[in-house]
C-alpha cells in the first residue's frame, strides 16, 4: 500500500524530535450499502476513504495526526504534526530491519466489488416480500444490505510491519406491525467477516419472516414487569450481557486508571464457577475477527475469566508497554482518523452442560429473553443496562406471554456471581458495533442459554 522506503522515512521524521516510538497506520476502506424502505429500493451508496494516521509516543505523551494525502509531502507534514508534542532529548532512527511483507487475511471467497449491484438489490426485494407476506398487520419494512473492505498497513519504529485485508457483509430487516395496541417493531440482522458467500448460508426470506414475526407477536405483548426476578437468556443474543457486565471493565486502559470495578482483582473469584469468558479475535469469519489488530499484532484468543477466576485483562500497545508485558492484541481503532485503544473482539461465554429446555422448566417464575438490543455500562460502579427486544414471561416453567421492550439493569460483579445454570447450546449472536470514547468498532458476542438468578426488569407492570 505504501513504498517501504517512504514508510521508513516517515517514521524517521516522526522520531526526529525525540519520541520513543512512532507508528504509521495506513487504511484504504471501501463500502457499499443498499436500502429498501417503504416498498422501494431507495438508494445505493458507495463510499471510499483512504489515509494515514501517525502517532509518536514520548514518555507518557502521545502525539497524533492524520491525513488523506498519502504523498511523501502529506505524510511528512502529518509526521511533523504528530511529533510536535514529543519532548525527548535526542532523536533516533527507526529500526526497520525486521520489516517483512504484509500478512494477508481475506477469507472472503467472493469480494463485494465482484458482485453485480442488481444481485444485491434483488436480496432486498426478496426479504421485503417475505416480511410483508407474513401477516396483514405488517405495515412497513426496511431492509439494508451492507458490505465493506478495509485494507490496512501498520509499521512502527520497533521494526514491525504488517497488513490485513478485512471484508465484511451484513444484512438487516426491520418490520413495523400495527394493531389495536399501536405500533410494534421487529428486527433480524446478521453479519460476518466474509464476502458475498455470506448468502450461501443466510436466507434473506427467512430473515424477513423472523423480523415480521417478532413485530406481530409484540402486538399482543403486555408491559414488562417492574422489579427483580430470575432471567433466562436464550443462546446467541445474550453475549452483550458479558460485553457490558464485565468486558469493558476488563479493558486495561480503564483498569489502569482505576475506573473499573475489576481493577486489582486478577486471580480472584469474580464470577460463578460456571463462567469461563473468552475474547477471541481469531474466530474466522466472525464479526469481530481480524488477522492483525490495528497496531499490527496477530489476533489472539485470550481467556479473561476461567471457572469464575479473573485470569487477565485486555491490552493494547500503550498499556502493555507501561506494565512491561506482551500485548493481548486488543488495540483497535475506528479508522485512520482515530487513535487505537483497548477494545474487545469476539467475546463469549463457553458452553456449560445443562439442557436449555430444562433450564426453562426449572424456572417457576421469571423472564425469558430471546433477543437483546444494545447495552451500556458504567465501569466505575459496574452497573450496566441492556435492552430486550423479544422477551416472554416464564410461568410454572413454561414460556408464556410476550413482553413489550424494556431495559434490564444489573451490577456486573454481582450478576457474574448470580449465574446459576449454563446450557450446552453455544451460539454466536448478531453483529454489534461497540462504542467507546466516540469510536465504533465491529464486535461479536456469543453464549449458550443461561440463567441469572436475579436481575432487575425495568418495565411498568407492578
Amino acid at each position: 500500500m505504501l513504498d517501504p522506503l517512504l514508510v521508513t522515512e516517515v517514521l524517521d521524521t516522526a522520531l526526529r524530535t525525540g519520541g520513543d516510538f512512532a507508528e504509521i497506520f495506513v487504511e484504504d476502506a471501501r463500502s457499499s450499502m443498499a436500502r429498501l424502505d417503504d416498498g422501494r429500493v431507495e438508494e445505493l451508496t458507495s463510499g471510499r476513504s483512504r489515509g494515514a494516521g501517525i502517532r509518536v509516543v514520548s514518555g507518557e505523551t502521545t502525539g497524533f495526526a492524520h491525513t488523506a494525502d498519502l504523498s511523501a509531502g502529506g505524510l511528512r507534514a502529518a509526521a511533523e504534526a504528530a511529533s510536535a508534542v514529543a519532548r525527548g532529548a535526542a532523536g533516533r532512527a527507526a529500526n526497520m530491519t525486521a520489516g517483512g511483507p504484509a500478512a494477508a487475511h481475506a477469507d472472503a471467497r467472493r469480494l463485494p466489488e465482484d458482485v453485480p449491484k442488481a444481485t444485491k438489490v434483488d436480496l432486498l426485494v426478496r426479504a421485503d416480500a417475505a416480511a410483508r407476506a407474513a401477516g396483514t398487520g405488517i405495515r412497513q419494512v426496511s431492509v439494508t444490505y451492507a458490505d465493506s473492505r478495509r485494507r490496512i498497513l501498520v509499521a512502527n519504529s520497533d521494526g514491525l510491519m504488517a497488513g490485513d485485508d478485512q471484508v465484511k457483509t451484513r444484512f438487516a430487516v426491520q418490520a413495523v406491525a400495527s394493531g389495536d395496541t399501536g405500533l410494534q417493531t421487529g428486527r433480524e440482522s446478521q453479519g460476518l467477516s466474509i464476502g458475498f458467500e455470506f448468502f450461501d448460508s443466510f436466507d434473506v426470506e427467512e430473515a424477513g419472516r423472523s423480523a415480521a414475526a417478532r413485530a406481530l407477536t409484540k402486538l399482543g405483548a403486555r408491559p414488562a414487569p417492574s422489579g427483580t426476578m430470575p432471567v433466562v437468556i436464550k443462546q446467541g443474543g445474550g453475549g452483550v450481557l458479558f460485553h457490558e457486565a464485565c468486558g469493558h471493565g476488563l479493558e486495561a486502559d480503564l483498569v489502569g486508571k482505576r475506573a473499573s470495578v475489576f481493577a486489582g482483582r486478577r486471580g480472584e473469584q469474580v464470577a460463578s464457577p460456571l463462567v469461563t469468558l473468552v475474547d477471541d479475535g481469531t474466530m474466522a469469519g466472525e464479526w469481530g475477527a481480524y488477522a492483525v489488530d490495528d497496531e499490527g499484532h496477530p489476533a489472539a484468543r485470550n481467556v479473561l475469566i476461567e471457572d469464575g477466576v479473573l485470569t487477565d485483562y485486555m491490552y493494547d500497545f500503550l498499556r502493555a508497554r507501561t506494565e512491561g508485558r506482551p500485548v493481548s492484541t486488543n488495540g483497535r481503532r475506528q479508522s485512520y482518523r482515530h487513535l487505537p485503544m483497548v477494545r474487545m473482539t469476539n467475546t463469549f461465554l463457553v458452553n456449560g452442560t445443562s439442557d436449555p429446555e430444562e433450564i426453562i422448566r426449572q424456572t417457576p417464575h421469571g423472564v425469558y429473553v430471546a433477543q437483546l438490543g444494545g447495552g451500556q455500562v458504567n465501569t466505575t460502579t459496574g452497573d450496566f443496562v441492556f435492552g430486550m427486544t423479544e422477551a416472554y414471561l416464564i410461568e410454572d416453567g413454561e414460556v408464556t406471554a410476550p413482553l413489550r421492550d424494556a431495559n434490564l439493569i444489573g451490577n456486573g460483579p454481582e450478576v457474574l456471581t448470580l449465574i446459576d445454570v449454563v446450557g450446552d447450546d453455544f451460539a454466536m449472536g448478531p453483529p454489534g458495533t461497540c462504542g467507546k470514547d466516540g469510536q465504533g468498532v465491529p464486535v461479536g458476542d456469543g453464549q449458550p442459554t443461561l440463567r441469572v438468578r436475579a436481575l432487575t426488569i425495568g418495565g411498568t407492570a407492578g
Partner: protein, 446 residues
C-alpha cells in the same frame, strides 16, 4: 472558504442533461488534547475533509462519497453515484432541494479567537481542567479523562437545481470525568463546558459540576420499586428531547414509523409543553446557516401548549406530504440527507429547580440515564432507561440511588409532564437542557 464553493460548483458542472446532481463538500480543522496525571496524555490535530455526491435521474437516486477533496477522485465518485442511481426504484417525490426564497439567518458562529489561539493555550486549558478537578474535593482519587477539543467546520452545497450555500461554525469543549472514592465506594461524575472560543469556556464550572455529580452519588443503594414523580436533570431532559425529535420526523410519520402519525392538531402533551426546533438561535451548539440540502435554517414550532403543530421535513419527505421542507435535513458528507431535529428547546417555566423539588413528597431526582438506545423504542413509544440520582423526600433532595430504571411510554410521559423549570440552557449535545417534572413514572429497583 471560496475553494469549497468552487469545488462543489465544479462537481455540479459535470452533470449530464436530464440529471440532477448535488455536491456536499465539508472540511474541518480539529484539535483534541487529553490530560492525565498532570501530563498531556494525547494531542491530536487534523484537517479531515470529504465530499458526498447525489445523482437523481427519472426519480431514481444514487449516492457516493469519498473522504477527500481530490478532483480526480471526485470524478470517479460522481460516476459511481450515477451508476448507483440506475439500481434505485423510481420515486416521484425524489429530487434535490430548490431555492425557496427564505433568507439565510445572520448568525455569527465563528470567533476569530478560536482560529488564532496557540496550541499551548489549549494544552494548558486541558491541564488546568484536570488540576482544578483534583483540587475540588479530597475524595477525588483520579480523573478518567480531562479533555479539551475544538472543531472549525466549513461546508458548501451546490446543486443543478440552483442551490449554492455555505456554512461555517467553530466550537470548543471541555469535558471531565472525575473519580471519587469514600469508604470503599467509587463513583464517576461528568462535567462539561462548551463555547465558540476559549474565553467562553469555564474549566472551574466543569470541574465543580463533575465533582459534585460524582460525590453526591457516594453510598448510593438500590431503591424500592414503586411509582413516583421524577424530576429530570436538564441533561436528561435534553436526551429525552433528542428521542422525541426522532418521532416528530415527517419521514417517520409518512412511513408509518411514528407514534404521532395522524395526530397533528391534537393534544399530545400537557399544556406545560411548548417545543420548538430552532437552529437559527446562535446560542444552540448545533445552530447553523443552512441545512444538509443547502436551504436556509428556520425556526419550526412543533408542540404548542401541548398541541401537535407540525412535523419536520427535508425536501423529499416534504414533497411526499405536500408540504415545504422545514430545512431539517441532517447529514455529513458520507450519507444522504435524513430528517433531523436540530436545536430542540422547551419553552421554560418560571420556577427554579429547588422550588420544583420543594413541592414533592415522594420522588426521585434523575441525574443521569443509560441505555437510551437499547430501552427506548421510538416507534412503539416504550420507554425504559437505567437511572442514577437522588431520592426526593418531603420537598428536599435525600439519599442517592443507583442500579434502577425509570419507565413509562413516550405518549404517557408527555401527558404526565407537570412543570418545566426556568433553568433553560443550551447543551453541547444540541438540545437545550431544562429541569422537567413528570408524574407517575415506574421506578424499578429491589
Amino acid at each position: 472558504m471560496s475553494d469549497l464553493d468552487d469545488l462543489a460548483a465544479l462537481v455540479v458542472s459535470w452533470a449530464r442533461p436530464g440529471e440532477e446532481v448535488e455536491a456536499y463538500v465539508s472540511r474541518s480543522r480539529t484539535t483534541n488534547v487529553r490530560a492525565y496525571n498532570g501530563e498531556v496524555e494525547s494531542f491530536s490535530s487534523a484537517e479531515p475533509a470529504g465530499t458526498g455526491i447525489r445523482v437523481v435521474v427519472d426519480g431514481r437516486q444514487g449516492f457516493a462519497w469519498a473522504g477527500t477533496l481530490d478532483v480526480d477522485v471526485l470524478r470517479e465518485t460522481l460516476a459511481e453515484a450515477r451508476d448507483n442511481a440506475a439500481f434505485g426504484q423510481p420515486d416521484e417525490h425524489a429530487g434535490l432541494a430548490r431555492p425557496d426564497g427564505i433568507a439565510v439567518p445572520e448568525l455569527d458562529l465563528v470567533r476569530a479567537e478560536l482560529l488564532t489561539t496557540p496550541t499551548a493555550a489549549k494544552v494548558d486549558m486541558a491541564l488546568e481542567l484536570e488540576r482544578a478537578t483534583k483540587a475540588r474535593d479530597r475524595r477525588v482519587t483520579g480523573v478518567r479523562v480531562a479533555t479539551y477539543s475544538d472543531a472549525y467546520g466549513e461546508t458548501a452545497v451546490a446543486t443543478t437545481t440552483g442551490i449554492t450555500a455555505t456554512s461555517t461554525a467553530g466550537l470548543c469543549f471541555l469535558s471531565v470525568s472525575p473519580l471519587v472514592e469514600d469508604r470503599g465506594d467509587t463513583q464517576m461524575g461528568s462535567g462539561v463546558s462548551a463555547g465558540r472560543a476559549l474565553s467562553e469556556l469555564d474549566p472551574d464550572r466543569a470541574a465543580t459540576d463533575g465533582v459534585e455529580r460524582a460525590v453526591r452519588l457516594l453510598g448510593a443503594t438500590k431503591p424500592a420499586s414503586r411509582r413516583v414523580t421524577v424530576v429530570l436533570d436538564p441533561e436528561v431532559t435534553a436526551d429525552l428531547l433528542q428521542i422525541l425529535g426522532s418521532t416528530l420526523s415527517g419521514e417517520a410519520v409518512l412511513k408509518g414509523r411514528s407514534l404521532f402519525a395522524g395526530r397533528e392538531g391534537s393534544a399530545v402533551a400537557s399544556d406545560a409543553v411548548t417545543l420548538v426546533s430552532d437552529p437559527t438561535d446562535a446560542g444552540a451548539f448545533d445552530s447553523g446557516h443552512v441545512d444538509g440540502e443547502g436551504l436556509a435554517r428556520r425556526r419550526v414550532p412543533l408542540i404548542e401548549s401541548g398541541a401537535l403543530r407540525q412535523f419536520l421535513y427535508d425536501t423529499t419527505s416534504g414533497r411526499r406530504a405536500g408540504r415545504p421542507s422545514t430545512a431539517s435535513a441532517a447529514r455529513g458528507y458520507s450519507s444522504t440527507p435524513t430528517v433531523g431535529a436540530p436545536a430542540l428547546t422547551l419553552a421554560p417555566g418560571t420556577r427554579r429547580q429547588d422550588e420544583l423539588i420543594s413541592g414533592i413528597t415522594d420522588g426521585v431526582y434523575v441525574q443521569e440515564v443509560s441505555g437510551l438506545h437499547s430501552g427506548v423504542n421510538p416507534v412503539s413509544g416504550d420507554f425504559s432507561v437505567g437511572a442514577t440520582g437522588l431520592a426526593i423526600r418531603d420537598g428536599a433532595l435525600a439519599e442517592p440511588f443507583r442500579e434502577a430504571t425509570v419507565a413509562s411510554t413516550l405518549q404517557r410521559m408527555l401527558l404526565d409532564i407537570v412543570e418545566v423549570g426556568a433553568d433553560h440552557e443550551w447543551l453541547p449535545g444540541g438540545a437545550a437542557g431544562v429541569t422537567l417534572v413528570v408524574r407517575d413514572v415506574s421506578l424499578s429497583g429491589t
